[in-house]
C-alpha cells in the first residue's frame, strides 16, 4: 500500500495510479453533497442545465457537518454512509466526477462506472468528525442553502486523509480486507 499526496481537480493520470488500500492526502477543493443535493444535481444534468460547480475532475465528499461555533470554519465533519448516493453517482461519474469520499460499500453500478470512466471511491474514517474537521481550512455554502446540513459546500482542504476503497481496476478494499482477516 502506497501513499500519495494529490491536488484537486483530479486527472485520469492521478486516479489510474491508485490501488485499493492506498492512503491519499487530498489538497484543494472538495464539494459536499448528500442524498437531497445529489437528486437535484442529477435533475440538472437530465435537463441539460449547468451545475453549481464544475464536475470535471471534481471530488465530492458525502458529509452533513454540524453547525460551526462562532469563529470555527466548520463543525464536526466526518463521512456519511455512501450507498444512499449509489443511484445518483454513476451519472455524475459519466459527466466528469473523479472522486467520492464516504464510508461503506458501493453497489456494482458505481464500481462499474469507476472502471469505465476512471474514478475512485475513497473511504474516510467515520465517526472521526472532530479530527477530520481540522483538515478543512475554509467552507462556504455554494448551493441549496435551504437544505441546511445537506447544502452543497465548497471546502478547501489540506492533507485530508482518505483510503482508496474502490479503484479503477475493480478492486474493493472492504472485500479484500475481509478475505484476508476472516477466520470462518
Amino acid at each position: 500500500m502506497a501513499e500519495y499526496r494529490l491536488t484537486t481537480p483530479l486527472s485520469d493520470a492521478d486516479v489510474t495510479q491508485l490501488k485499493a488500500g492506498d492512503i491519499v492526502y487530498l489538497n484543494g477543493t472538495l464539494y459536499t453533497a448528500r442524498d437531497a443535493a445529489h437528486k437535484r444535481l442529477v435533475e440538472l444534468i437530465e435537463r441539460g442545465e449547468p451545475l453549481p460547480f464544475d464536475l470535471q475532475g471534481a471530488v465530492i465528499y458525502y458529509v452533513g457537518p454540524t453547525p460551526p461555533k462562532p469563529g470555527e470554519v466548520i463543525g464536526s465533519a466526518g463521512p456519511t454512509t455512501s450507498y444512499r448516493m449509489d443511484s445518483y453517482a454513476p451519472i455524475l461519474i459519466e459527466h466528469g466526477l473523479k472522486g467520492m469520499i464516504g464510508k461503506g460499500r458501493r453497489n456494482e453500478a458505481v464500481k462499474e462506472a469507476c472502471k469505465r470512466y476512471k474514478a475512485v471511491y475513497f473511504g474516510a474514517v467515520g465517526g472521526a468528525g472532530a479530527l477530520l474537521a481540522q483538515r478543512i481550512k475554509a467552507a462556504k455554502v455554494i448551493a441549496y442553502e435551504e437544505l441546511g446540513p445537506e447544502a452543497i459546500r465548497e471546502l478547501v482542504v489540506e492533507d485530508f486523509p482518505v483510503v482508496v476503497v474502490n479503484d479503477v481496476y475493480g478492486n474493493d478494499l472492504y472485500e479484500a480486507g475481509r478475505r484476508q482477516w476472516a477466520k470462518v
Binding site: 457537518p65 466526518g78 468528525g129 476472516a182
Partner: protein, 287 residues
C-alpha cells in the same frame, strides 16, 4: 410526594446532551484502547488510533465526536411519588433536547419521512425525541440518553424466529445482521440483542441493551456465556475497524430479555439486533 422543578429537569437534560455528544464515555475509551492493543491488522490499528485521537480532540475542543449527533433516544423511569412542578415531564424532555442540540451546535437531523423536509422549524430543533416511559416505585427520576446515529440504525433488524430455531437460530441471525452491516455502520460495533416479548418489544430491548456499560458482565450467567461466544464468533468475520479488514469487529455483545422470566409467547421467539457504531454516545442522570 417529592417535587422536582421543571427548569432543573430541562437544564439537566441539556447539559447531558452536550456532554455526551462531545465526550466519549470511559467504558468506550477503555474498549477502544483494548481493541487498538489487540488489533492485528495495521490498517485497522491505524483507524483505531484515529478514533482515540478524535475522542481526545472532541473533549478538549468541546466539539461533537461525530457530525451525526443522532436522534435523541431516552429511557425514562418516573417514580410514582414524584411530581414535576412548573410544567410537564415530556415537555421538559423536549425543551432540554432542543436547547442541548441548539446551544451545543449539534446537528438537527429530524425530518418528514415523505417530503424529507427538516423539522427544525415545524416541530423544533432536532425534535421530536424518541422517549420510552416507565413508572416505578419511589420518588426519583432516572433518564438514560443516547445520541443514535442513522448509519447504525439502518443496519439494524428484527425477526420473529420459530421456537424450534432456539439459541442456534438466534446466533445465526445475529451473525447475519453483523455480517451484512459490514463496513457500513462504523465498526467496531457494540451489538444490542433483544430477545422476547413481542415483535416490537424485542426491538426496544435491543436498543436498551446498548445503554449498558460496555465491557460489563451480564448478570444472567447463561446470557453472559452467550454474549462471550457471540463476540468471539463475530470477531472471526474479519470486518475490522471501518470495515477495512481486521480482528476487532465487535467490542461487545449485550443481550437483554423481557423480564420477568425471559418471557415470550409459546408460539414465538422474537429477536432484534440493534447495531451501535464505535461512537457510542450514552449518558444517564438521576434526579
Amino acid at each position: 410526594m417529592r417535587t422536582l422543578a421543571y427548569r432543573d429537569v430541562v437544564d439537566a437534560i441539556k447539559n447531558m446532551v452536550i456532554y455526551a455528544t462531545t465526550h466519549l464515555g470511559e467504558d468506550m475509551l477503555q474498549a477502544l484502547k483494548r481493541a487498538y492493543e489487540e488489533e492485528e491488522s495495521p490498517v485497522s490499528k491505524a483507524v483505531l488510533a484515529q478514533l482515540l485521537e478524535n475522542a481526545k480532540l472532541a473533549a478538549t475542543q468541546n466539539k461533537p465526536l461525530c457530525q451525526d449527533t443522532g436522534l435523541a433516544v431516552y429511557f425514562v423511569k418516573v417514580g410514582e411519588d414524584l411530581r414535576i412542578e412548573g410544567g410537564g415531564l415530556k415537555e421538559a424532555i423536549y425543551e432540554g433536547t432542543e436547547r442541548g442540540y441548539r446551544e451545543g451546535y449539534l446537528r438537527a437531523s429530524t425530518c418528514d419521512c415523505f417530503t424529507r423536509e427538516n423539522l427544525k422549524e415545524k416541530v423544533g430543533y432536532n425534535l421530536p425525541p424518541v422517549i420510552y416511559f416507565d413508572i416505578v416505585p419511589g420518588d426519583r427520576l432516572e433518564i438514560e440518553y443516547a445520541a443514535k446515529g442513522g448509519g447504525s440504525e439502518n443496519a439494524s433488524r428484527a425477526r420473529v424466529l420459530a421456537p424450534a430455531q432456539g439459541i442456534e437460530g438466534i446466533k445465526e441471525f445475529v451473525k447475519e445482521v453483523v455480517s451484512d452491516a459490514g463496513p457500513n455502520a462504523c465498526p467496531p460495533y457494540t451489538v444490542g440483542v433483544g430477545i422476547g416479548g413481542t415483535f416490537d418489544y424485542a426491538a426496544v430491548l435491543s436498543k436498551h441493551a446498548l445503554y449498558r456499560e460496555v465491557g460489563s458482565v451480564n448478570p444472567d450467567p447463561e446470557l453472559a456465556q452467550l454474549e462471550a461466544e457471540l463476540k468471539e464468533e463475530l470477531n472471526k468475520l474479519g470486518i475490522g475497524a471501518m470495515g477495512m479488514g481486521g480482528t476487532q469487529s465487535v467490542l461487545a455483545v449485550h443481550i437483554e430479555t423481557f423480564q420477568p422470566g425471559r418471557m415470550c409467547h409459546i408460539a414465538s421467539l422474537p429477536v432484534a439486533v440493534n447495531i451501535q457504531c464505535h461512537s457510542a454516545r450514552h449518558a444517564h442522570i438521576s434526579l
